[in-house]
Subunit: 412 residues, 2 copies
Amino acid sequence: MDGLTVADAQRCVIAAMKILGTESVPLKQALGRVLAEDVRANRDQPPYDVSAMDGFAIRSTDVVSVPATLEIIEDIRAGDMPRKTLNAGQCARIMTGAPVPPGADAVIRVEDTQAIGAHQVQITVTVKPRNDIRDRGENMTTGEVVLARGTAITPGVIGMLAMVKQAEVPVYRQPRVAILSTGDELEGLDEPLNPNKIPDANSYALMAQVQALGIDPVLLGIARDDPDDLRAALQRGLQFDVLLVSGGTSVGVHDYVRPTLEALGVQMQFWRVAMKPGHPMAFGIAPLTWVFGIPGNPVSSMVCFEEFIGPALRKLMGHTRVFRQTVTARLAREIKHRHRRTEFVRVMLAREDNIWVATPTGNQGSGILRSMALAEGLMVVPAASADVAAGATVQVQLLDGMNFQQDAGGEW
Amino acid sequence: MDGLTVADAQRCVIAAMKILGTESVPLKQALGRVLAEDVRANRDQPPYDVSAMDGFAIRSTDVVSVPATLEIIEDIRAGDMPRKTLNAGQCARIMTGAPVPPGADAVIRVEDTQAIGAHQVQITVTVKPRNDIRDRGENMTTGEVVLARGTAITPGVIGMLAMVKQAEVPVYRQPRVAILSTGDELEGLDEPLNPNKIPDANSYALMAQVQALGIDPVLLGIARDDPDDLRAALQRGLQFDVLLVSGGTSVGVHDYVRPTLEALGVQMQFWRVAMKPGHPMAFGIAPLTWVFGIPGNPVSSMVCFEEFIGPALRKLMGHTRVFRQTVTARLAREIKHRHRRTEFVRVMLAREDNIWVATPTGNQGSGILRSMALAEGLMVVPAASADVAAGATVQVQLLDGMNFQQDAGGEW
C-alpha cells in the first residue's frame, strides 16, 4: 500500500489533537461552541406548583359530584402571586404557568367549566388531586446539572442556557488557523489576470471549509518556490495552533515544503495516504502547531480537509462528533475502481421513495473543482473494493449542501 | 380540525415570501449566501494544453517503436511558458499543469521513462496522441456560465468563485430579523432573579435558530402586558423585514398581541395550526414586514421556528432548499397519538446497522426545554396517525446536532 490507510491516518491525526483551554463568551456568541464546564440550574423550575392550563384552581374534594358551582375568589395570572387561600366551595381563575393558590390541589381546564356571572363558575368534570398541576422543580431543581461539560451548543442548548440565565458561557477555546498556499504558478485573488498562472482557489476553499466550522482563519497568502520566502511564510504559520499548507507536498524537484518544515522542527507523522483524490496528504507536529500538508489541486485539497482537517479542528474545539454524517445510498451508475486506494467520489444526492440515490457529479478528475462545487456528498469506495455496480448500496458522507431539502416532506 | 394543517400553513408562509434584493459582498463573507447572478469563467482553464502528469512532453510519432531515446531540450514547470519547439527526436521535461510545448502531442509519465544522463531520456512505452494532455478550456471556457444564479454558496462554490477571481460576490440580501418576547411573567437575561418570574428563554433560542441560518437578528427585549408598551415595541419590530413575537398569541384576557398587530395594519393569515407542540402559531403580513406570532413556551417556539420560520427565512435569502432534511428511521419505543394534530416528537438519533434509530428524549411536555436541548431530530407523527408502535418506520427531520457523527464510519 502506498501510504497509510485513510482510517489509520484519521486515527493518527485525531489522537494527536488536544483541547486548547477554555474561555468565557457572551451567550450571543456561544452557538456552535462546546461547553467547558457543567451548567447547573439556578432555581427550581417551575418555582412553585403552577397551572398547566388556563382554567380554575380548585379543591378536588369540591368536585366529587358534578356539576358543582364554586365561588371565584381571585384571578391569578402568570407572574402574579396568589393572595388568598381557597376554602371549601371556592376556586380561583388561573392562567397557564401561574402559581396554584394555597388550599387548591387541582386545576380544571376552562373547557370543562361554564361561567355563571362574574363571580361563580360551574364545574362539569371530576378530577383527581394534582390534575393539570405542574410540580415545583419538575423541569429542574436548584443546583442540578442541566447541561454537561462537553455539550455541543445548539439552539436548544442556547435556550437552556438562557433558562438558567447563563449570560456568559464557559467554552473551549477555538483553534487559531492559518492557511498558506505555495507555488510560483499561483495567482492571488487581487493580482491581475496572467494566462500563464493558475488562480489560487485552494486558500479560499479551505477558508470556507474552516468558516463552516465556525472558525475565522487567517490567510497568509502565497509563498513562492523560493526557500527563503517559503521559510519565512512557514515560520509565520507556525505561530498558529493549526497551519494548513497547500501545494508543494509531492516529490518534484521544486517541492521545498517538506525539507523546510522539517528544518523548522516539524515532526512529520505521515506524507502519503492511500486515497484518491488526496494521495500526497501530510501531517506533522511542531511544538505549538499541528501542520497539514495538503495537495495543490483544489478537489484533493477539499477532500483532505473533509477527511482529516475538519475532524481535527472539531476535536480541538471540544466536539466528540467530529466526522461528517454518513448515510446509506443507492448508486445511480457504475463506478470503476481499479486501484488500491480509498476513493472519494463526488456525488449529488436525491431522496426517492425514502432512499438516498447517489449520482456521481461527472468528471472526477482532481483538477475539476466544479465536481466539488456540485457535490452534496462524498461516496466512499473502500481501497479493497472492486468496481461498484449501478444499484449497489454505498456509504456517502453528507456535505454542507445537504442540511436542507426542497420540499417539506409530507402532507402531515 | 382546529387550525390549518401543517402542510397548508407551510404553503401559506412560503408562498408569501419574496426575495429582498441583491447586494455585493467580499468573497470572505459569501459562505452560506445565495448567488444573485450567473457567474462566468474569466479565462480558459487550463489556459493552454497542459500536462496532466510529471514526465516528458514528446511527439507520439517518436515512440512508435520503443525503447526510444530522446534528447531533452527544455525543462517546463507549472507557471513557465515553453521557449522551444520540439523537432523529431526531441522532448521536454514537464511538470503537472505546465503548458505542452509546440511540436509535442503527448506526455509520457516519468514512471515510464529511464534517465540517460542529464540530457537524454529513454522512453519505454508507446502512447497515442493527446496522452496525459489536458485540453485548453477542459475545465471552463471564457464566458461560460460556471455557477448559476440561485446557487447556494458552499465551500466548493467559494473555491469556484476564487477560481474565476470573483473577489466581490453578487448575493441576495439577508432579511433583517427582530425578535420580541411579551409577557409580564418574563424575566430578562440581565435582570436579577425573581422567583415569581420565568426567565426569557425564547428570545435566545430564537436568536440562535436565526444565527444558525447565518443571519444576525436584533433582540427587542420584553414587551409588558400593557397596550402602550406592546404597541411601541411592535411598531419598532415592524421596521424590520421579519418580526418574531413570542407569547401573547393565545386567547386569554391578557393577550393583546393580536388586536395590537391588527390595529397596526398587519393582515393576519392564520392564528392556529393543528400541531403539537405549537398550536397557537400565527402568521401575518404588514406592508414592510412578515410577522410570526409564536407560542410563549420555548419548545413550541423552537418547533414552530423549524417548521415555518426557518424555511421562510431561507426562502427570503434566495435558497430553494428551505426545509430540514428528513430521514427515515426506526422508532425505539411506542408513541401514543390520541389527538388530531400533527405531533413533532423530540428524538435522539443513532445509526445501527446503517439504519437510523429514533428514541424520544423523554418528557415531551411543551414546557420541557431540555427535550429540545437533547433533541437531534423531530419525528413527525401525522395528524391522522394512530399510536406509533415501537419498531415502526418513521420520518425524522434532522436538527443541528446531526451534521456530524462520532466515528469515521468504516475501515476504508
